[in-house]
């Protein structure tokens, strides 16, 4: 059966990339929504519905890359429907998170901060490496490189990489994270995870984990060359999550199932 896919915030950049790839991936686009005060022209050939509820009623899954502000409203709109929710909004607040968890009891919800398959495989391997290579003899450092317009550091993905390493070692990242070394900082502590952020040009995104032991070094690098990679991952998630029981799913869940 062809999956009907809907796009809240259909004028968004990643949303449009998803729409472009939908037909080739075998989806039927059921429609989209746009913000009431949006000044952008809605995409051609996509029916614009009045709200997310109306969109959910005619869709098997909605793919949502809108904004952290909309999370609670969209969760409410899915109540009483059988529409799955693929959510890629960043900066979700604690109340937003609670709303996600509530609606995940009714419909399948797939949340990811980063939908790139490659990056998520790297996160998986980072945790395994950290587990096998103890902090006493192996130092973990993270480098991220992004375009000159990025306003925050380290990148969200670099932090996710640090969290994976910390998790592998049974630590909290907050306790071991060292970002932006400068001056007379003293010798490196064995369990710290150092972050360095480079900014320049139009680099789409590069994150690297470097683990150095007494006589060897292992590193994992992920480089994005086209943001289409996020759209492809979101569509793969949409395909995977439709038909699953209600619950909250992640890229890790999907990859572990595919890795079996």
């Amino acid at each position: 059966m062809t999956i009907r896919i809907g796009f809240p915030g259909a004028t968004g950049r990643i949303s449009q990339l998803c729409q472009e790839a939908s037909a080739a991936a075998g989806f039927l686009i059921s429609g989209g929504t746009v913000r009431a005060n949006s000044t952008r022209t809605p995409p051609q050939g996509i029916e614009i519905l009045p709200d997310v509820r109306a969109l959910a009623d005619v869709s098997d899954v909605i793919v949502d890359f809108t904004h952290a502000d909309t999370v609670e409203a969209h969760a409410d709109a899915l109540k009483g429907t059988s529409c799955a929710w693929v959510l890629g909004t960043s900066g979700v607040t604690p109340t937003g998170k609670a709303a996600i968890e509530r609606i995940a009891k009714e419909v399948p919800v797939f949340y990811a901060a980063n939908f790139s398959r490659g990056m998520n495989v790297v996160l998986l391997l980072a945790e395994r490496l950290a587990q096998a290579l103890p902090a006493e003899s192996y130092d973990a450092e993270i480098v991220d490189i992004f375009h000159r317009n990025k306003v925050d550091a380290p990148s969200g993905t670099a932090i996710a990489l640090g969290e994976a390493v910390a998790r592998g070692r049974g630590r909290n990242l907050a306790d071991v994270m060292v970002a932006g070394r400068e001056g007379d900082i003293g010798a490196r502590k064995p369990d710290e995870i150092g972050f360095s952020s480079l900014r320049g040009g139009s680099v789409a995104g590069e994150n690297q984990l470097i683990i150095t032991g007494p006589a060897d070094q292992t590193s994992l690098t992920h480089r994005v060359s086209n943001p289409r990679v996020y759209a492809k991952g979101a569509l793969q998630a949409a395909q995977w999550v439709v038909g699953k029981p209600a619950g909250l799913y992640s890229m890790k869940d999907m990859l572990l199932e595919l890795n079996r």
């Binding site: 495989v121 790297v122 998986l124 391997l125 070094q217 060359s225 943001p227 890795n259």
Partner: protein, 258 residues
């Protein structure tokens, strides 16, 4: 009782390190055989045996970092000498593996393309990458870099990992391996694995595996700074293998990862 360990090719690069590390360890260095280049002077104080068979007769294990071509004659000698045979030679072909399997019917045989602990994790990481990043979307290429004295290419580590990637993807390695590109190669074949070999200076060993789609690149890179990690790992393997039943073993068995 202290394990008696002999070193085939004790004049070789790793052979010398093995002798040094064995002297430091609680195991006993029985002696060694000369490498192919018999002009090199053996390390001081190390007893030199005329053959592997005679070395084996005095030892519980023989560690062999010599050359693939010696496998054929060593196979029979370790069986007659009844020792554990620890092999770190690269560039093994199907015929070499037959010799290893034959010897493994009588004595413990342990082969590793690398004896460093982190290297042992690599197969698991690489198989996961190969499974989750399929050949239809992700082109895989391997570059390895080694010191200028290395005589074979690509390295055993690189081809072992390439073979694993193909097997994980259900592809035939011998059909998919592109061991050196030159001239009118035509476009890249889906599922193929290209190898690049850099030989320079004193590089101990680096293996870099790329998975590249139209939109993203994933790189797994492993570097060894000091060849001593191989010697330490090989001695650990030898001590583990002594007294084990006949059979073919790997570093995974030594580290309890299998």
């Amino acid at each position: 009782m202290s394990e008696r360990i002999g070193v085939a090719g004790v004049t070789g690069q790793v052979g010398r390190l093995l002798a040094e590390e064995l002297e430091k360890s609680s195991a006993t260095l029985t002696g060694g055989t000369l490498g192919r280049n018999t002009q090199k002077t053996p390390p001081a104080g190390v007893r030199i045996y005329p053959s592997v068979e005679e070395l084996a007769a005095d030892s519980d294990a023989v560690i062999d970092f010599t050359h693939a071509s010696t496998i054929f004659s060593f196979g029979e000698q370790v069986v007659r000498g009844k020792v554990a045979w620890i092999i770190g030679t690269s560039g093994l072909t199907a015929a070499h593996w037959d010799v290893l399997r034959e010897a493994a019917k009588t004595v413990p045989v342990l082969y590793a393309s690398s004896f460093a602990a982190t290297s042992v994790l690599m197969p698991d990481l690489v198989a996961t990458l190969a499974r989750l990043l399929p050949a239809e979307e992700y082109d895989t290429e391997i570059i390895e870099a080694h010191h200028k004295y290395k005589v074979d290419a690509p390295s055993g580590t690189a081809t072992t990992l390439g073979r694993l990637i193909c097997e994980t993807r259900g592809l035939n390695f011998d059909e998919m391996a592109v061991l050196g590109r030159k001239g009118e190669t035509g476009p890249r074949k889906v599922g193929s694995i290209g190898f690049g070999a850099i030989r320079a200076g004193e590089i101990v060993g680096e293996t870099k595996i790329y998975f590249m789609s139209d939109d993203e690149t994933i790189i797994l890179d492993r570097r060894v700074f000091d060849r001593r990690v191989y010697a330490v790992g090989a001695i650990q393997a030898a001590r583990w293998a002594i007294g084990k039943p006949a059979g073919l073993y790997s570093m995974k068995d030594v580290l309890g990862q299998s």
